[in-house]
Amino acid sequence: MARLGQTFDRMLGFLKEPVVVTVEINMNVMVLTLMGLISRLWGLSYPRAVVFDEVYYGQFVSLYMKRIFFVDDSGPPFGHMLLALGGYLGGFDGNFLWNRIGAEYSMNVPVWSLRLLPALAGALCVPLAYQILVELQFSHCAALGAALLILLENSLITQSRFMLLESVLIFFILLAVLSYLKFYNLKKHSSFSGSWWFWLLLTGVACSCAVGVKYMGLFTYILLLTTAGLHFWHVIGDQNLSNVSLMCHFLARGLALIIIPVAMYVSFFYVHLTLLYRSGPHDQIMTSAFQASLEGGLARITQGQPLEVAYGSQVTLRNVLGKPMQCWLHSHTNTYPIRYENGRGSSHQQQVTCYPFKDVNNWWIVKDPGMQQLVVSNPPRPVRHGHIVQLVHGITTRYLNTHDVAAPLSPHSQEVSCYIDYNISMPAQNLWRVEIVNRESDTDVWKTILSEVRFVHVNTSAVLKLSGASLPEWGYRQLEVVGEKLSKGYHQSMVWNVEEHRYGKSLEQKEREVELHSPTQMDISKNLSFMAKFTELQWKILTLKNEDTEHKYSSSALDWITMDTNIAYWLHPTSSAQIHLLGNVVTWASANVAALIYTCLSLWYLIRRRRKIYDIPEDAWQLWVSAGGICLGGWAVNYLPFFGMEKTLFLYHYLPALTFQILLIPIVLQHISDHLCRSVLLKSMFTALIVAWFSSVYFVYCTFSPVTYGEPSLSVTELKDLRWKDSWNILIRKQ
C-alpha cells in the first residue's frame, strides 16, 4: 500500500506547485497563423454551390440536424459531428437536398459556417508545421520554410476550403505529433509536472480525434505508439530510475496513450447515438433490436409486443445476416416447378422463400407438435432453447418442412418447402429444434427481437439457412431458403430472429387471417444498452461494403507520388471558373527528392557507422534519425497501406502522407547546408539556390491559384497552358 501511495504521490506531483502562466509570443507563429487564416478563409463562401464530396458529407450534416440515424461506412462519426457543429452554429435546419455536385445552395444553408471548421483546421496546420520543426531541434529558418511550404501548397488549400474532412484529419495528426514531441522534449527532470501531463494527455486526445475523424488516423496513432514504445525502452534502460518510478512512467503512458484514446473513441459513438435517435433510411441494415431502439420505424410496430415466444405465438422471422438484403421467412401458395430449367426435379411442394418486404405471408405460427391447437394457452407456455416445434404458415396453414431433395439453386443443400401431402410415400418431416445462439443458459426462453435462433431439422439435422441466391421467375425473384446439411459453425445466414410477434387467439382459420392482417399491439418497451449498440454499429461500419464504386476521378496509389491525376471539384455553371484538387508541382517533386536523399544518406551513414566511421557528430545523427523517423515514417505509414486496399482511392487520400513528406524538405536542406556544404562559398551558393527554389514554389502557387480558389475565370488558352501534364483533366468548355 505504501508503494501505491508513493506511486500516486509521484504521478500527481504537479499539484504541489502553483499554476503559473508566462506569456511569450513568437511573432513568427503569429504571422504564420495569420497568413494561414487569410489563405484558407479568404472568400470562403464562394462558390455558393455544392463542391465535390460536400454532396456526400452534406447529407450527414442534414441528418444530424434532423436527428435521424445513419450509418456511414467511410469512417467513425467524430468528423461528421464536427461538420455538423459548423452547421449547428450557423443555424442550419438540415433542409437541403444533397443530390448533385454543382447545385446552388439555397438561402437557408449557412455555407460560411459549414466550411469554417475545416478551413480553420487547415489554417492551423501552418503554425503546427513550424512548431514541429522547432521541436525536432531544427533552426527557425528551417521551421519557417516548412510552414511556408505548407502555406503555399495548393492541394492543401483546396481541401481545407470546403466541407471535407482531410484538413481536420491532418490538423489532428500534426497536433498529436507536436504534442508528443513537446512531451518528449520535456526531459526527465520535469517528469510528472503539469506541462508534462498536459502534452502527454494532449497526444492521446489528438490521436483519438484523428482516428475519430477518419480511420486513416490509425496509421499515425500506431506510429506514435511505436515511437513512444521505443522511447520507453530507453527509459527502462536508465538505471538511475527506481522500479517504482519506472512503473509510474509506464502507467502514465498507458493511461494517456491507450486508455484515454479508447475511451474518447467510444464517447464519440455515445454522442453520435445520443444525438441521432430517430429512425431513418439506413435502419434496415441494423438488427431488429437496434431498429426497435430508435424512435419511429420499427419501434412503432414492435412497441408493446410480448417478449417471450410461446406455443401458439404468431411471429415474423427475419434473417440476421441481412445480405444481400434484409428479408423475412416467407411462403405463398405457389409450388416449386416439377422440373427446373436444368432438368433436375423438385418435390413440387409449396415454396418457402425469404421476402424483403413486409407481407402478411411472412407470418408463422409456433406450434407444439404434441397438440393440435394454434392459440396461446393461458398462462402462455414459453418456448425454450432445445424445444422442438413446428412452424405453421399462417395464411396457408401448411407446415415448414425439409427433406432430402436438392434445393433449386444450391443443389448441395436440402430443399425447404411447406408440406403438401401428395400421398407419394414422401412423409412430412416438419419437426424443428429451436437453438438460441446467444443464450446465457441452456434453459433460456426464446425472446422477441433479442434472441438469435437457429432452426435445426430433427430428421436430417439440417439448418434453416438463407442461401443468398435469388430464385428465377417462378419464385418471383425472392431469395432462396435452404436446409444446410453440413453446418459449419456459426454463420449469420443461418440465424433468425422474431421481429413482429403477438399471441394468437383465433381458433378458426378465417378469424386467424383477419388477425394476421391486423397490426400488432400491446405494451412493453425494450432498450438496448449503449455498449450493445456501439458494438453493433462499429461492426456494421467496419464490415459494410459499398460495392463497386468506380469513379471518374479515382486513381491508383502509384499515381499520387508523381501527381499524375487531379480531381475536378467544381465548375461554374456558365463561365469557365473551376476548382481542382491540384498540388504545387514544385513542392511535390522536391518532397519526393527529399525523401530519396534522406533514404540514401541514411543508408550511407548507417553502413559507415556500422564500420565505425562517423561522418557527422553524434547529436546531429540523433536529430537526423528522430526527424526522419517522424517525417519519413509518417509518410510511409500514411501512404504504403493504400497499396493493399481494395476500396476506391482518390488523390486526396495522399494529403496526410504529403504533409509529412513536405516537412522532410527543410530537414534535408538544413542538413545539407550544415554538414555537407563544407566551405563558405558552397554554403552561400546553396542558400541562393534555396531562395531561387522558393520563388519557384511561390510562382507555381500563384499560377495555379485560379483553379485553387475558383477565381478568376480563365480563358481557354490560359486553361490549356495550365495543363502541365497530359493526364490532368482540366475542364474546357466547348465554344
Partner: protein, 792 residues
C-alpha cells in the same frame, strides 16, 4: 459433398456454354522425354543425424557422469538401436526418469538413440493403416488428378506452382501407377489402381518432418529434452498424422519448409567458420529447400521471408565485424525459382488450361495452334480475328445465340469474355459505312489504321458488336454490350473507333503485340472486361462492358490473336516470342490471380484464421454418416491448447527476460544461457510462427483449417523450447536441493504422458472411425466432443 470447392482444376472454370466445343480431356499421347531427375532431390533430403560423433562405450560414459561441470542426461544404453514400433509408452516413460537437474549437455551417444527412436515412432505413426480408406479422400481428387496429368503429360492450369504435383506424379510413376484413375470426386474407390505409392511418398515426407523439427530444436536449444518434447508433440498430433497420410501438397510443402529451417539453423551455427565444407553444404541445402517450398505452394514464400530476414540480420552482424573486409561479404542464391523453369520445360504438351495464358505466352507451348504458325502481320478489313483481353487471365471477346435475360439491360444477344478457344470467338472487321463483301477478290486489301471507325461482326451469328446506355449486368456504372442487328445490318450504335496504344493516326495495327482499345463512337465509352463472372444465364463467362471511365488499364485493352485473311501473306510468329522473364512473370501472375479469385461468397460459411490455433473446427477428409469410414482432420486438442498457452507463456518469459537484461539485473551464467536460448532461438521460431500465421488475416481468398499446419510446426517447436526453459528455471530455483532434478523430471514426464494419453484418446480421428457419431455413448469417441463445432 465434403470436398472443398476449388476452381483450380480446369473443369470447374470451363463454362458449360452449349455452343462451345467440348474440352479435350487429359490426352494420353506417348511422350518420349523423361522428367528431370527429381530423385536427386529426394535422396539428398533423407534425414541425416547431425554429425553423429563417435562416442565411447556406455560403460565408459557411466564412469564419468559429471563431464564439463554438469550432470549429464543419460539415455539407457540398452535402448539404443532397439526401438521397436508399437511400444511407445514404456519407452518414453523410461527415458526421462533419470533426468538430472542441469541437463544442459547430454552425452553425445544419447542423441543418436533418441533420434532413432523419434524416427521410428514417426514412421510407425504415419505409415500405420496408410492404405485405409481405399477411396479418394478430400483434396486427393485435385492433386491425384494433377499427378495423373503429369504422368500423361497433359498441360493444365492450377493455382499452385508445379513442383509438388510433379513429385506426386513421379512417386506414382515409380510405384507403378499408370495415371488412368480419373480422381473424379471424393469417395470414389481406387479398386485395382495403385495409389499407395503416392500416399506412401507423402507419408514418408510427413514422417521426415518430425526428425527435422527435432534436430532444429536440438540445434537451437542444445537441450535433448526440449527436442524430444517437440518430437513427441508432432508424432502424437492427430492433425499432423492425418495430413501426412493422403495425396496432398501439405506434407511436401512442410517437408521443404522444415528442411529450410533446419539448414538455416545449422548454417547459423557454422557462421563462425564461413566457407567451410559444412557451411557450404547447409547453405546450399537452404537454397534448395527454399526453392522446393516455393515450388510447392506460394505459402513457401513465408519461409523464404523468414530465411531472408535471418540472412539480413547475419549480414548486418558481419558488417559490424571490423576484422572482416567488405570484400568477403557472402553471396547468396536462395531465390532461384527452379521449378517454374522446369514446368515450362517438361510440359510442352498442352491441354485445356492454356486459355488462361496470354497469347504471347501460348505461342511458346508446343502443340498450341499459336505455336510456330504464321498469320498475316497487319489487320485489314475483312479479316477474321479473335480478340483477347489484356488483363491477366482475361478472356476472348465472345458472343453466342443466347440473349440477356429479361430485366437485365436490353434483351439482346449476350457478349461475354470466354477463357477458352471457340468458334464463337471469331469476329469479322468491317468498315462502318460500306457493306461490300471483303472476300471479293476484285477489291484491293485495305488495312485498318489507327483511329479508323469500324464495325465488328460476330461470324457465327452475323450480329454486330453493339453498346448503348443501358446498365451492364454486374458493373452497374458501365454500359451494356450486346450483339445487335440481323445479317450484319445494325445501327449507328455499332460503330467503334479503333486505336492502338502509343501510336500516331494512320498507322497499321499489328497482330498480338498491338494493344488496341475500342471506343464506342456514340457514347464515348471503352470496351472492356470487368473480370466478374456472370451468373448461370451467362454460362459463368466473364462480363464484358463499355466503361465510361476512360482509363488505360489492361481491362480495356485488347489484342488480336488469331487472324485469318487469305489475301495477306503470313509471317512467322517467332518475331513476337516473349522473353523467358515475361513467361515467368505471366505464369506467376496468372497463378496468383487464380489464388485470389477463390473468394468466399457472402452467405458461405468459411474457416477464419482465428479458429485455427484454438482448434475450433476440423475438416472432413472422408465420410459423413455413421456407416462411413470417417477420417477427420483435427489437431490433438490437448497438444494444440498446450501450444496456444505456450505462446502466451513465451511472450511473458521473453518480456521479463528482456526487461531484466535491460535493467541490468545481474544474472548467473546459467540464467544468461537460458535467456539467450529463449531470446535468440525462441525468437527465430516465434518469427516463423508469426510469418506463417498473420498473413492469413489479410488474405481475401477462401481459407481452410489445414493452412495453419506450417505455423503449427513452429508453434510446437516453441512449446518444446519454452517448457524446457521453464522447467529448468524452476529447477534452478530449487537447486541444489534434491527436489530440483525431481521437479524437472516429473514436469517433463507429466507433459509427455499427457501428450501420449491424449493421443490414445483421439487417435481414431486419424486412423478412421466406423460406427455411431460421438453423441452416441457407444461410439469410441463418446464424451470426447469437447467443442460443439467438432463434427465427429
Amino acid at each position: 459433398p465434403w470436398v472443398r470447392q476449388k476452381s483450380s482444376c480446369s473443369a470447374t472454370l470451363r463454362s458449360s456454354c452449349s455452343v462451345g466445343p467440348a474440352p479435350a480431356g487429359p490426352s494420353l499421347r506417348p511422350q518420349p522425354r523423361q522428367p528431370p531427375p527429381l530423385q536427386d532431390y529426394i535422396s539428398m533430403r533423407a534425414p541425416r543425424p547431425a554429425h553423429p560423433p563417435r562416442t565411447p562405450s556406455p560403460g565408459l560414459r557411466r564412469a564419468r557422469p559429471g563431464a564439463a561441470g554438469h550432470t549429464a542426461l543419460r539415455m539407457p544404453a540398452a535402448g539404443r538401436g532397439r526401438a521397436e514400433p508399437g511400444l511407445p509408452r514404456q519407452r518414453e516413460s523410461r527415458a526421462p526418469r533419470r533426468l538430472p537437474a542441469h541437463p544442459a549437455a547430454p552425452p553425445a551417444a544419447a542423441r543418436p538413440a533418441a533420434l532413432a527412436l523419434v524416427i521410428l515412432l514417426s514412421f510407425a505413426s504415419r505409415f500405420h493403416r496408410l492404405a485405409e480408406p481405399p477411396h479418394v479422400c478430400w483434396d486427393e481428387t485435385h492433386f491425384g488428378k494433377m499427378g495423373s496429368y503429369y504422368i500423361n503429360r497433359t498441360f493444365f492450369f492450377d493455382v499452385h506452382p508445379p513442383l509438388g504435383k510433379m513429385l506426386i506424379g513421379l512417386a506414382g510413376y515409380l510405384s507403378g501407377y499408370d495415371g488412368t484413375f480419373p480422381f473424379q470426386k471424393p469417395g470414389d474407390r481406387y479398386e485395382q489402381h495403385n495409389y499407395v505409392g503416392m500416399r506412401g511418398f507423402c507419408a514418408f515426407l510427413g514422417s521426415c518432418l518430425v526428425p527435422l523439427a527435432y534436430l532444429t530444436v536440438l540445434e537451437l536449444s542444445k537441450s535433448l529434452p526440449a527436442a524430444l518434447l517437440t518430437a513427441f508433440i508432432l508424432i502424437f498430433d492427430t492433425g499432423c498424422i492425418t495430413l501426412s497420410q493422403y495425396i496432398l501438397l501439405d506434407p511436401i510443402l512442410m517437408f521443404f519448409l522444415m528442411g529450410a529451417v533446419l539448414s538455416m539453423v545449422k548454417c547459423n551455427s557454422c557462421a563462425d567458420r564461413p566457407f567451410s565444407a559444412s557451411w557450404w553444404f547447409w547453405m546450399s541445402l537452404t537454397g534448395v529447400n527454399l526453392a522446393g517450398a516455393m515450388g510447392v505452394k506460394f505459402v513457401g514464400l513465408f519461409v523464404v521471408l523468414l530465411v531472408g530476414l535471418n540472412t539480413m540480420y547475419d549480414l548486418w552482424d558481419l558488417l559490424g565485424n571490423l576484422s572482416l573486409s567488405l570484400v568477403s561479404v557472402r553471396t547468396f542464391y536462395f531465390f532461384f525459382d527452379s521449378p517454374v523453369i522446369s514446368q515450362t520445360a517438361v510440359l510442352y504438351l498442352h491441354g485445356p488450361g492454356d486459355g488462361f495464358f496470354s497469347s504471347a505466352f501460348q505461342s511458346q507451348l508446343i502443340g498450341n495452334n499459336l505455336h510456330n504458325i504464321s498469320v498475316p502481320e497487319h489487320v485489314a478489313y475483312g479479316s477474321v480475328v479473335t480478340m483477347k483481353n489484356l488483363r491477366m487471365a482475361g478472356g476472348y471477346l465472345h458472343s453466342h445465340w443466347h440473349l440477356y435475360p429479361e430485366g437485365i439491360g436490353a434483351r439482346q444477344q449476350q457478349v461475354t469474355a470466354y477463357l477458352h478457344k471457340d468458334l464463337n470467338n471469331l469476329w469479322i472487321i468491317k468498315k462502318h459505312d460500306s457493306d461490300t463483301d471483303p472476300s471479293d477478290p476484285s477489291i484491293p486489301v485495305e488495312f485498318v489504321r489507327h483511329g479508323d471507325i469500324i464495325r465488328l461482326e460476330h461470324k457465327e451469328t452475323s450480329r454486330n458488336l453493339h453498346s448503348h446506355q443501358h446498365e451492364a449486368p454486374l458493373t452497374r456504372k458501365h454500359f451494356q454490350v450486346t450483339a445487335y442487328g440481323i445479317n450484319g445490318t445494325g445501327d449507328s450504335n455499332d460503330f467503334w473507333r479503333i486505336e492502338v496504344v502509343g501510336r500516331q493516326a494512320g498507322k497499321l495495327i499489328r497482330v498480338l503485340r498491338g494493344q488496341v482499345r475500342l471506343t464506342h463512337v456514340a457514347t464515348g465509352c471503352m470496351l472492356g472486361s470487368s473480370g466478374k463472372i456472370l451468373p448461370k444465364w451467362g454460362w459463368e463467362q466473364l462480363e464484358v462492358t463499355c466503361t465510361p471511365y476512360l482509363k488505360e488499364t489492361p481491362n480495356s485493352l485488347w489484342n488480336f490473336e488469331d487472324h485469318i485473311n487469305p489475301k495477306l501473306p503470313n509471317i512467322s510468329l517467332d518475331v513476337l516470342k516473349p522473353s523467358f522473364a515475361e513467361i515467368l512473370l505471366e505464369s506467376h501472375m496468372v497463378m496468383i490471380q487464380g489464388n485470389t479469385a477463390l473468394k468466399p461468397k457472402d452467405n458461405e460459411v468459411t474457416s477464419k484464421p482465428w479458429h485455427w490455433p484454438i482448434n475450433y473446427q476440423g475438416l472432413r477428409f472422408s465420410g459423413v454418416n455413421e456407416t462411413d469410414y470417417r477420417v477427420y482432420l483435427l489437431g490433438n486438442p490437448v497438444i494444440w491448447w498446450l501450444n496456444l498457452v505456450t505462446i502466451g507463456l513465451y511472450l511473458l518469459i521473453t518480456v521479463s527476460a528482456a526487461v531484466a537484461l535491460k535493467r541490468g539485473v545481474q544474472l548467473t551464467s546459467e540464467l544468461k544461457d537460458l535467456s539467450r536460448v529463449v531470446l535468440r532461438g525462441g525468437g527465430q521460431i516465434m518469427l516463423g510462427w508469426l510469418l506463417h500465421y498473420l498473413p492469413f488475416f489479410m488474405m481475401g481468398r477462401v481459407l481452410y483449417f489445414h493452412h495453419y499446419f506450417p505455423a503449427m510446426l513452429f508453434s510446437s517447436m516453441l512449446t518444446g523450447i519454452t517448457w524446457d526453459t521453464l522447467l529448468k528455471f524452476c529447477a534452478m530455483f530449487l537447486s541444489p536441493s534434491a527436489t530440483a532434478r525431481k521437479v524437472y523430471g516429473a514436469g517433463f514426464l507429466a507433459l509427455v504422458l499427457l501428450i501420449i494419453y491424449s493421443f490414445y484418446l483421439f487417435h481414431p480421428l486419424s486412423y478412421g472411425i466406423i460406427g455411431p457419431m460421438a453423441s452416441d455413448p457407444s461410439s469410441p469417441m463418446a464424451g470426447l466432443r469437447w467443442m460443439d463445432s467438432w463434427e465427429f
